[in-house]
């Protein structure tokens, strides 16, 4: 059980993934890519959940539950998001996020 990889490593990976996700979310114009970036963010959080569970409360499973829960939510979210994206495509014939700006002043 006492493997050699310390907690910090997990956290570093997760942080890098998180910021890659944020970066992607802010800079990509394609809605699908944005969705993928969001998945990255969610998964970075998942890593944190599991790592903390493993290192801080080895006897409990709360972190695992949360991880699974997030995966489930992410899945359904992806389904909804893709449905929205398809609709957007039908309406704007594009999935470029810059074109989708109806909801403004």
């Amino acid at each position: 059980m006492n493997s050699g990889i310390p907690l910090e490593y997990y956290l570093i990976v997760a942080t890098i993934m998180f910021f890659i996700g944020v970066y992607g979310f802010l800079t990509r114009r394609n809605l699908i890519t944005i969705l993928m970036s969001t998945e990255l963010i969610l998964n970075s959080v998942n890593i944190n959940f599991l790592a903390f569970n493993r290192f801080l409360f080895p006897g409990k499973l709360d972190g695992h539950f949360f991880g699974l829960f997030v995966i489930a939510v992410a899945a359904s979210e992806a389904a909804v998001a893709i449905a929205i994206i398809i609709n957007i495509y039908r309406r704007f014939t594009s999935i470029n996020v810059e074109n989708v700006n109806e909801l403004k002043y």
């Binding site: 944020v22 979310f25 700006n101 909801l103 403004k104 002043y105």
Partner: protein, 639 residues
């Protein structure tokens, strides 16, 4: 003391007539509604005369003095803890006398109108307004307290408004009624403020308490002083302003000549005999207070009366509309009455002016109503108001001619007609008081005789004009009232007013003072003689005189431009200089501020709405930056 409770019906009957005719009159035949109104008035007249006889022949006397009898009184509205408005009937010599005057003239006018207004549209409306007027006027004179008087004062004003504007599709009538109401309303504001001050000082509205010689009004002369006069004096002056408004005293007289736009019987009733003497009645009613607590006010009253009488007499000599001549003559005669009160003393022979004033009021009601009704008869015959379009009518209108002549002689003050007696007493009272005022009134007596006979000769003498159809005498419903009033004006001089209507209720002896009366008779005869020379036959003398005194004639003819002055004040000052700027200020400054606030809000929101760009990633960026900034802020700055 005798029971006078039934006098309430003097108020109730005309009020009921008013309601009935007002609500259901349109469904009745014109004739029926006219007769209903007249019948109501007949009842009132009978009751008034019965009251007068009972009161003067003993029931009102106690210890040789006529008492103030409260026949009925009940609280109408509680104002403050001390003040309450009552509605009631107060009988004393002057109110009983006024009952007789009002009911007589009103009854005559009701009968007269049956003929005069025949076939007019709105006959029932006319009679219901007349009933309203009679009700209000009766309520005014029998008021037990000054506030009841004010209430009926306003009601009289509105009935006058309604009757002047009776021919409401005529713009001039509408304008005249509006003017009459607003001018008197302005004066009433003075009256109201006067009552406010008076009631605050004395804590009562009640006439009996107010005029009590030991009462709060007369004994509280000390009080606060404002601009050199006591508060009591101020309040009495303000109350007199109300009276001056109704009685058309200078400078509030401008509405009366215009009020002649109303039907002529109305002018006779309201604008000659009854309503316009309300101011005189008011001063007479409050006389002890004026005399003891506000002598300065009484002095002002004397001068206002004297000036108005002279002023109006001068104007009357130049007017050509016969009703306007009579209107100015009314102002002049009321000036006499007011003036007479102003120079009167209190108690016994001292109160000669008071007695004379009321006497003159009584006589004036008779002969002025007669003059107006006569003028109405003339207008009825020739369909014109202008004496330049009349002449030689004595052949066509014999009864009108004779009664009119009697009235002219009476107003000129010829012995032994009634006008002589009362005018003589007024002049005597003035003689003992102030020689300057006395001289003015002498002059006015001459002018009166002159302009009345100018009127008379122009209408009834001279040669015939081109009439559309031959003038014919009026029907009996019109001539009978003329005859009755003529008899009244001849004989009312024989009434012993010095025993009946005196300042303190106690009779006193008075006699004709020939040293005063003689010259006044001569002056009157001179006036008549001049009129004879100038107007008996057509000649150029009047025109030549007018051109000689061109400027003064022009001023008098244009009524000294008082109307224009008022017009200037109302149109230019109130309308242009106050109201329009106020309206502008409201729209642009006050409302502008509100709109300005809205504008600022809108502009600011326009500026910052760009933040809501619809760019999802821009929001995300701001969000992330903000979150990072907050984290850094909390970590490094707040520890």
């Amino acid at each position: 003391m005798a029971d006078f409770g039934y006098t309430v019906w003097i108020l109730i009957v005309p009020f009921v007539t008013f309601i009935v005719l007002g609500l259901f009159g349109m469904k009745l035949k014109a004739r029926i509604s006219g007769l209903t109104g007249t019948l109501g008035l007949a009842i009132v007249t009978v009751l008034s005369y019965a009251t007068a006889f009972r009161y003067f022949l003993g029931a009102g006397l106690a210890d040789g003095i006529y008492q103030k009898i409260i026949a009925f009184n009940s609280t109408w509205l509680t104002l403050t803890d001390r003040l309450h408005i009552d509605m009631g009937v107060l009988l004393d010599p002057i109110s009983v006398m006024m009952l007789v005057v009002i009911s007589t003239v009103s009854f005559m006018v009701h009968i007269y109108s049956l003929g005069y207004m025949k076939g007019e549209k709105g006959f029932e409306r006319y009679y219901s307004f007349l009933s309203l007027f009679t009700f209000s006027m009766m309520g005014l004179v029998v008021a037990t307290n000054i506030f009841q008087m004010y209430i009926f004062w306003e009601l009289v004003g509105i009935s006058s408004y309604l009757l002047i504007g009776f021919y409401y599709s005529r713009p001039s009538a509408v304008a005249a009624s509006k003017k009459a109401f607003i001018v008197t309303r302005f004066a009433d504001m003075g009256f109201l403020i006067g009552i406010l001050i008076l009631s605050f000082t004395t804590k009562t509205f009640d006439f009996v308490t107010l005029t009590d010689l030991n009462g709060p009004a007369i004994t509280s002369t000390g009080g606060a002083v404002f601009l050199g006069m006591s508060v009591m004096t101020w309040s009495m002056i303000l109350i007199f302003v109300g009276g001056a408004g109704k009685s058309a005293m200078f400078p509030l007289h401008i509405w009366l000549p215009d009020a002649m736009e109303g039907p002529t019987p109305v002018s006779a009733l309201i604008h000659a005999a009854t309503m316009v003497v309300a101011g005189v009645y008011l001063v007479a009613r409050m006389f002890p207070v004026y005399y003891f607590a506000a002598p300065e006010a009484l002095q002002i009253i004397a001068w206002v009366g004297a000036f108005s009488s002279l002023f109006a007499a001068v104007i009357a000599t130049t007017q050509t509309d016969i009703k306007r001549v009579l209107a100015y003559s009314t102002i002049s005669q009321i000036g006499y009455m007011i003036f007479s009160l102003g120079v009167s003393g209190y108690g016994g022979p001292e109160g000669l002016g008071f007695m004379a004033s009321n006497w003159h009021l009584f006589n004036h009601a008779m002969f002025k109503a007669l003059l107006f009704l006569g003028a109405g008869s003339v207008i009825h015959a020739v369909h014109s108001n202008y004496m330049t379009e009349m002449g030689g009518l004595r052949k066509h209108l014999p009864i009108t001619n004779i009664t009119f002549l009697i009235a002219c002689l009476t107003i000129a003050g010829l012995f032994p007609l009634s006008g002589f007696f009362s005018k003589d007493e007024i002049l005597t009272a003035a003689f003992h008081h102030d020689k300057v005022l006395f001289a003015i009134e002498y002059l006015v007596a001459g002018l009166t005789a002159f302009y009345m006979f100018r009127l008379y000769f122009s209408i009834f003498h001279g040669h015939d004009r081109q009439y559309d159809h031959t003038p014919h005498e009026s029907p009996a419903t019109m001539t009978v009232p003329l005859i009755i009033l003529a008899i009244g004006s001849v004989f009312s001089g024989l009434l012993p007013f010095n025993r009946l209507v005196t300042s303190d209720g106690a009779p006193f002896e008075s006699h004709i003072e020939w040293s005063v009366a003689g010259p006044s008779l001569i002056i009157a005869l001179t006036g008549i003689a001049i009129a004879w020379v100038m107007y008996r036959k057509e000649n150029t003398l009047p025109d030549r005189l007018a051109s000689t005194f061109k400027h003064s004639y022009k001023w008098a003819y244009n009524k000294f431009y008082i109307d224009e002055l008022y017009l200037f004040i109302t149109k230019k000052i109130i309308f242009r200089r106050i109201s329009q700027p106020v309206a502008w200020f409201d729209r642009h400054i006050v409302d502008g501020t509100m709109n300005g606030i809205a504008w600022v809000t809108q502009t600011v929101s326009n500026r910052i709405k760009g933040l809501q760009s619809g760019q999802l990633q821009q929001y995300g960026f701001v969000f992330v930056t903000g979150a990072v900034a907050l984290v850094l802020f909390f970590i490094y700055l707040i520890k």
